[in-house]
């Protein structure tokens, strides 16, 4: 299997675990995404699209359940990522699967809104 090559995030209080299995890349986010997290998270998400295209995956799953807080700068990196993914040719586009914590309303609503923001992508939100 071709290894997934994403930058490491070394920020206290925030973590990104990435894995690649079959035709799915999964990111698991934990902690609080705030000012100091912005740049490293942005680098991860920029690279994520490149990797998804390189590996030819059909789905990228982002597990938000462990995220306690996310500021707007970090969130904007997700918008940029989705915007980029949307611009890929339909043949190479991948699905985006968000997993949210049903007890965290901000996740449910903002992730649902992301689906509308990226209306040309197949975005699904799973509440757990």
């Amino acid at each position: 299997m071709i290894p997934l090559d994403l930058p490491r995030v070394s920020v206290v209080g925030f973590g990104v675990e990435a894995s690649h299995a079959g035709d799915v890349i999964q990111l698991k986010l934990t902690g609080r995404a705030h000012v100091t997290t912005g740049a490293p998270l942005h680098r991860v998400l920029v690279r994520l699209h490149t990797e998804a295209m390189r590996l030819g995956v059909r789905q990228v799953t982002v597990d938000f359940r462990g995220v306690e807080l996310m500021n707007s700068a970090c969130f904007k990196s997700f918008l940029t990522w989705l915007d980029t993914a949307q611009q890929a040719s339909p043949a190479t586009r991948y699905r985006v699967h968000f997993i949210s914590d049903a007890h965290k309303q901000w996740q449910r609503r903002t992730l649902a809104a992301l689906g509308y923001f990226a209306a040309d992508l197949a975005v699904e939100v799973e509440e757990v």
Binding site: L69, M70, S72, F75, K76, Q105, G115, Y116, A118, A119
Partner: protein, 314 residues
Amino acid sequence: MVRALDDSGRARTLSLLRVARLETNWVALGQGGDVEQVVAAMNRDLQALAAQSPAQGVGDICDAIARILAHVSAHGGELPQELDLLMTMAIQFAGRLVRDGPAASRGVEGFLREVDEALRDAGGPVERSVRESRSRERVARQSSRWCHDLGAAATTTFLGHLFAEDTLRSRLYQSWQLLADEASRARSQPASRRIAVVRFRTAILPVDIAVPADWSVAPPPEPLSGSRAIDLLGACVGIPAIDVDMRQRATRVQLCRGGTEITVHAASEPIPAVGDRLCPTSDLHPAEVILVAGSEVVLVRPDRAVAQLGRSPE
């Protein structure tokens, strides 16, 4: 080689600059900027963006941003996390709409619903004031008023034709047809909502009335009663329901819609007819009579309808 921007390119560049400024101000607010000043600056950019950007959906997104800002302002800068993120998304959405045009407008409605729900949960303003009112509602209101005025003018012309001499009568009838057709086109609604011409039998005259085509109105087997005639009048000028108590023969009803006022009342005396033309008594202007039904006469005084006909939609 540097090429000069054409008007649309210039407008788009200005709009993108405004979007960028919205984003900068929003970040500044998050970093402790003066709430009043920042919100005022953002509102200025929103107004300009909504007014000047022709891109579909921009006005709607601007409205969503304005409503979130109103919430921020009302709560001294405090904002639930989801609204903060939705605001970030809304600003990016606006930029994409300006940049990519109609192709980027998919998803706007769903996104706005999420904003509505988030504001509702946060106890903020959920009325889509700007969204409905800025460009779209203004156009709809003007269109509606124009349709109404045309309908009222058509009615007046029809009334005139009822009492006119033979030569003029035919011309007024043709004018009425033109006005009714124009009102139908001006509705800018699906064909099913257009005006249809329905012929009704009254006590004295067959009467053609313009009614919305989606109304299910069957010509009555018997001559129209006064209240029924009033209902038809409502249909004719686009008023869906008229509350009138015809048991009191002197009832006067003021109908107001879209700036047009019409007075309707039941006459106390029947109006005599000669042949197929009515001969109103001296105290009644001929154009006030619309329908005759049995011994009841329904009167309409189109106070301002004709005067308004000369005003084109803005």
